[in-house]
């Protein structure tokens, strides 16, 4: 049986892997975002910007500063996507964008 991966997590993981060149298996929900290999503050902002553009959301900076783990990041994005009422359509297409 294949485990289902949350599409927002998949998109974020794809973006992190694209930017940092980390293998997907190295990106886990419990990873601290500032502790990811090859991620400094500027790299982190590139990741955030790519995710925002792909999901067509904007993360408030105050909220961004509270994010500790990849899981927190996924949760914030899920809430924003849900709030704009485009969860279904946006995430499916966005995965491909983020992976490019």
């Amino acid at each position: 049986m294949t485990a289902t991966i949350d599409p927002t997590f998949e998109l974020i993981r794809n973006v992190i892997c694209k930017v940092t060149k980390l293998p997907p298996e190295a990106v886990l929900l419990e990873n601290p975002v500032t502790g990811l290999q090859n991620v400094d503050s500027i790299v982190l902002l590139e990741i955030v910007a790519r995710v925002e553009v792909s999901l067509d959301v904007s993360i408030d900076e105050q909220v961004l500063f509270e994010i500790q783990t990849v899981g927190d990041f996924v949760k914030v994005c899920q809430e924003l996507v849900a709030a704009k009422g485009a969860d279904k359509g946006a995430s499916g297409g966005a995965v491909a964008d983020g992976a490019r």
């Binding site: 400094d40 503050s41 902002l45 590139e46 910007a49 500063f65 964008d97």
Partner: protein
């Protein structure tokens, strides 16, 4: 035949201010936590020495900031390096090994600045570039004829030097891997120790040699973040373009150091972003006309002052963070200079800052002036961190200088400003990501309709 054992040792040191206020800030400020990540690397000089050592040596690289030194370990020869902040510890380490009968050789910045002082603590001092000296040191060591001082007589040919032995540092965690593509800087700033002592003329490694080194490093570290440790990465524009073009397909992330002059070259900026440049440390030194006057021989930095704002904006709009380096406490600076510097770095949203206290390193013209005026304080070398005040400034107390320099950090890394800065950079990156996606869509459309990819 038993291999000879060479220990290459980088002594421990504090790489931010040793004073309690700096230490507290470093410990407690969350926004500042990337400092060590961005600027911690191995002792590049020792890695070069390793590459110049014959194969019948068993070499061990020891970074005392990461691992302890076993003074009773089997060793035939010890090579030490260090900046001035590491000198006190360098002397202690040398004493330990020499007491055990192991000869000690010293090189690096501090040994180049005051070789006579260092010579009192070690068996041999190397004054100059390792490539030009180390083979002779090894030869003399093997014949029991180490000389007290080795002085370079001709500049090392970087193109002919072997690849640095990066593998020696491989088992340790270094946030960034330092690769040198050139050595030297055309600006001779009065307070700068490195360019005065190491190399009066710029020297380059051939571009293909640099690319081979990047590939070598990439094969040995997982996705290395590379810091091109050149004093000034962008001096020869055409060479820089060739290097950047060849870096693009390697898909690395990197940072470097330079002056602001490259901001007018759109092609270099685009190539920098495309090749993975995340940040450039730029030596602004000061935002004061008075301070910049005469700071370098040609007044180049003064002439660049008017371009700082435009340069910062243009460079950062290309997705390259500007990490501004400022040196405070020169004779024209007053206690108002700290606020002026803080206002500049915040108004123009610099990605990062290094705010140091002017430091009269031994051997520099600045030191000579200050000694003549009786202004050098009696401080140990370990305080020469560039974040601790070691001289009597003209218009403030040493304590005011330390606190003032720290106040710029405190303002810059305050949560409220960090939030604004984050928004600023996020906007830049969003624009760049959209542009990149649009270009990719155009390429894919062209491919789908014509079967040919756009160039």
């Amino acid at each position: 035949m038993k291999k000879k054992r060479l220990l290459l040792i980088s002594p421990r040191a504090t790489f931010f201010g040793r004073n309690p206020a700096h230490q507290r800030f470093k410990r407690e400020c969350r926004e500042f936590q990337f400092f060590d990540y961005t600027w911690t690397g191995f002792a590049a000089g020792l890695i070069i020495v390793g590459s110049l050592t014959p194969p019948h040596y068993d070499i061990q690289y020891i970074d005392e900031n990461i691992e302890p030194i076993d003074f009773d370990a089997d060793a035939d020869l010890v090579a030490l390096t260090g900046m001035t902040a590491q000198a006190d510890r360098m002397y202690e380490i040398a004493a330990e090994f020499r007491a055990r009968g192991v000869p000690v050789v010293a090189g690096g910045l501090h040994a180049n600045l005051i070789p006579e002082d260092v010579a009192r603590h070690v068996d041999a001092v190397c004054v100059g570039e390792a490539e030009a000296l180390w083979p002779e040191v090894i030869h003399d060591f093997e014949h029991g004829q180490l000389k007290p001082v080795y002085r370079q007589t001709a500049m090392a040919a970087l193109g002919e030097a072997p690849r640095p032995a990066y593998e020696l540092a491989r088992q340790r965690y270094y946030p960034s891997i330092w690769i040198e593509t050139s050595r030297g800087c055309p600006h001779l700033c009065r307070f700068c120790a490195a360019t005065i002592r190491y190399r009066p003329k710029l020297g380059h490694k051939p571009v293909d040699k640099v690319i081979e080194e990047v590939k070598y490093v990439r094969e040995r570290w997982d996705n290395p973040y590379i810091l091109f440790s050149d004093d000034n990465f962008v001096v020869d524009r055409e060479r820089t373009k060739e290097l950047l073009t060849k870096l693009v397909p390697l898909g690395i992330k990197w940072s470097g150091q330079s002056d602001v002059s490259f901001h007018k070259d759109e092609e270099i900026l685009d190539l920098m972003h495309a090749s993975g440049c995340m940040m450039m440390l730029i030596g602004f030194e000061s935002v004061s006309v008075d301070t910049l006057t005469g700071i370098d021989e040609r007044n180049w930095k003064l002439k660049s002052l008017a371009q700082y704002v435009e340069a910062t904006k243009i460079i950062q709009d290309h997705g390259i963070g500007v990490y501004g380096a400022f040196t405070l406490g020169l004779d024209t600076d007053t206690t108002a200079s700290f606020q002026e510097t803080a206002e500049f770095v915040m108004k123009h949203y610099l990605a990062g800052i290094q705010v140091s206290c002017v430091t009269p390193f031994p051997g520099t013209p600045l030191r000579a002036d200050m000694e003549r005026e009786g202004r050098v304080l009696d401080r140990p070398w370990s305080n020469y961190t560039v974040f601790d005040s070691v001289f009597q400034p003209k218009n403030m107390t040493p304590e005011e200088l330390e606190a003032g320099a720290l106040s710029v950090y405190q303002a810059f890394y305050k949560r409220e400003f960090s939030l604004k800065k984050t928004r600023h950079f996020k906007d830049i990156y969003r624009r760049l990501v959209r542009k990149e996606m649009a270009q990719e869509t155009a390429r894919n459309t062209a491919l789908a309709t014509t079967g040919r990819s756009m160039v």
